[in-house]
Amino acid sequence: MAGAATQASLESAPRIMRLVAECSRSRARAGELWLPHGTVATPVFMPVGTQATMKGITTEQLDALGCRICLGNTYHLGLRPGPELIQKANGLHGFMNWPHNLLTDSGGFQMVSLVSLSEVTEEGVRFRSPYDGNETLLSPEKSVQIQNALDSSYSPVSAFQAAGNTGSDIIMQLDDVVSSTVTGPRVEEAMYRSIRWLDRCIAAHQRPDKQNLFAIIQGGLDADLRATCLEEMTKRDVPGFAIGGLSGGESKSQFWRMVALSTSRLPKDKPRYLMGVGYATDLVVCVALGCDMFDCVFPTRTARFGSALVPTGNLQLRKKVFEKDFGPIDPECTCPTCQKHSRAFLHALLHSDNTAALHHLTVHNIAYQLQLMSAVRTSIVEKRFPDFVRDFMGAMYGDPTLCPTWATDALASVGITLG
């Protein structure tokens, strides 16, 4: 069941991570990812541009915010416009004209989010398309094949140059994902299947020199299952590991324990990507627990609902209280929205039918996430990460001691106290 007989291994996978600094108290690390489309400083938050677009902002705007890696989604792109077209368009980089790094998710999460449209067998996931009712089978091989195909020899279509010609720089294995609220034998089945699917993905991967295939640790909220998964998957020499199956409906108390367990068993010299995590508090805590990479739709999605992220939480700018508030969203923020516009103007614009309002907030929320990660990183490099955490919690909750219990516990487990 552990798949030892079919254990696939290649020549030693590239070491893509360089550690620059480590917190002497917690497990926080600052580092650099060396990827085909450039270096990425870690810890890093990766905005999600599911369908080859970062919602209403241009790639030039995204670049100007300092973003150097973002996400695309295999499931969505595999349906529309499809891998053949993307290949003709000079790969996903060429199609969306993004010169920096791309990470593509395998489509595994859609098994949970679109569960009514999917059916899982050992072969793969059978999806019924919501667009035309057609059925597609997403197998480990097919998923890797699509992600391999989201590439061609990319020649830039504009002066906005791209380095190299490799396609999505990080690709994810297809994993058997179950909702974190599911219990019982299905969780174990999914965990072992994910190991087998990892081996199939490794075997099917045509471009290990150009695209980094990450494994995804499963096991739900069961410590034993997760430990088994960690033990097995770390035998496979992949360039990086993701921690999956969390960030669903589970309690935060269970969540952090699984993250901590995972980071304690993952190799230090490879990046740890915690999938689906994006609330500011969660980011800070999980950096303390030893994670390097994060993605989440939350900041960009909440922007489109009129919510701006700030160090004290969020501002729902559609509310009347902001009607005559002539200051920027955040006076400390350096993003174009905060440089040029007031809360009052954004409030007025949000009540109009001009989509520009949403774009202003998308720009700001991405800037907020990136600035947060940058500040976290600097504090690790300058050996004052625990103080940073206390200041952060103080700003967010009024007092560090008012921070949610789960976060206090999680931080305490790695040596950071808040009171």
């Binding site: 369908q51 080859a52 677009t53 970062m54 919602k55 209403g56 902002i57 241009t58 790639t59 030039e60 705007q61 100007a64 969505h76 529309r80 416009p81 077209l85 003709k88 368009a89 199609f95 969306m96 004209n97 279509v157 504009s158 002066a159 906005f160 009607e323 005559k324 002539f326 174009p336 929205t337 040029k340 516009h341 007031s342 009052a344 103007f345 007025a348 614009l349 009540h351 109009s352 039918d353 001009n354 989509t355 520009a356 309002a357 949403l358 774009h359 202003h360 720009v363």
Partner: protein, 370 residues
């Protein structure tokens, strides 16, 4: 402000408007257009993406219909709408209505005019109107007027007379209130011109006309300034402007006959109103519909040789994908292209007038009009 005409040929006026703005040192070329905005922002565009566009006009059009509901906020803000919307450097013209959104008839009285915002109807007497303008502090504003006369509908002479009378009364009252306010004196009232002789020195701005062929017709009748809502309408239907305006010099010039009397152009609402039925208009032959399947694998830019951000960075296939997947970026990129294409058209109009080639340009445009 000073209207300085370099040339008048066959009724078309080429020149500049000088000494514009609060500091009096801005200039605008005519014939020209104004940047169309919704609630003080170019549609879909932030400062960054707006400034990607080449040839953005020096003056933007604001609409009272989108700003009147923010009267209180702007009054408290004190520093004027230009600063409030983040366009402190731009010249601003405030029109009564949004040329794109239809305005229900029957809401003008002897004492008030109504505008229609997202929030509903805002009724304005002369004093409320002027109070709003005092809070906005635009460089120009259209005077309160009765614009419910359209040649399209069967309008009685009685109704036309009533409209003229009301508008004159509104204008008188507005001018009176302007005299009493230092703040308001910094703005120029754009009034309705009635009958009489064409006065060379007066600027002519037309509302509701934005299509390329109609623009040229109006220029031939002496109009100087236009609104740029047509590129916005094109954007909203998922289309891109592709019409050519780079006229070739034609050795066999065809002399166009001048029509008898030149129609006098009246400002604002007393003009022949072209159908402004919002964004449900038909696709014109000046544009291509990027939703069509044939663009799915078309890796050309929207218009070959176009210098806009969209054409320099993206393909028709990508825009098609964005439209099919209902992504917000489609509107952003199309707006950037359509504005730039349209502003380029106006540049070519001025060049054509300079070198006496307007006939060629007109022929080129008419060849492309359906």
């Amino acid at each position: 402000m000073k209207l300085s005409l370099t040339k008048v040929v066959n009724g078309c006026r080429l020149g500049k408007i000088k000494n514009l703005g609060k500091t009096g040192d801005h200039t605008m070329d005519i014939p020209g257009c104004l940047l169309y905005t919704k609630t003080g922002s170019a549609p879909h565009l932030t400062h960054h993406t707006l400034h990607n566009i080449h040839g953005v006009p020096a003056m933007a059009q604001l609409t009272l219909s989108s700003l009147a509901e923010h009267h209180e906020v702007l009054t408290e803000y004190k520093e004027g709408v230009g600063k409030f919307i983040g366009m402190p450097e731009s010249l601003l013209y405030c029109s009564l209505h949004d040329p794109v959104s239809p305005c229900p008839a029957g809401y003008v009285t002897n004492k008030s005019v109504s505008v229609w915002s997202v929030a509903g109807r805002v009724e304005m007497t002369v004093s409320k109107f002027m109070a709003i303008q005092k809070a906005l502090q635009p460089d120009w504003f259209q005077c309160l007027s009765d614009g419910e006369v359209s040649c399209k509908e069967a309008t009685s002479i009685k109704r036309v007379r009533k409209s003229v009378d009301r508008s004159l009364l509104f204008l008188d009252n507005c001018l009176r209130l302007q005299e009493e306010s230092e703040v308001l004196q910094k703005s120029v009232i754009i009034g309705v011109i009635e009958g009489g002789d064409v006065m060379e020195e007066r600027l002519r701005l037309i509302s509701g006309v934005s299509r390329p062929d109609e623009v040229l017709e109006c220029i031939e009748r002496g109009v100087d300034l236009f609104e740029s809502f047509f590129p916005y309408q094109v954007t909203e239907r998922g289309c891109a402007l592709t019409f050519s305006f780079d006229y070739q010099p034609n050795p066999e010039e065809t002399l166009l006959q001048q029509n008898g009397t030149q129609e006098e152009i009246k400002c604002m609402d007393q003009i022949k109103k072209i159908e402004t039925t919002g964004c449900n208009q038909e696709i014109t032959s000046f544009e291509i519909n990027l939703k069509e399947k044939k663009y799915q694998e078309d890796f050309n830019p929207l218009v070959r040789g176009c210098s806009c951000y969209c054409c320099k960075n993206h393909t028709r296939a990508y825009i098609h994908h964005l439209l099919v997947t209902n992504e917000l970026l489609a509107g952003v990129l199309l707006m950037m292209h359509n504005f730039e294409h349209y502003f380029g058209f106006f540049h070519y109009i001025r060049e054509a007038l300079k070198s006496d080639k307007l006939a060629q340009l007109k022929e080129l445009i008419h060849r492309q009009a359906s």
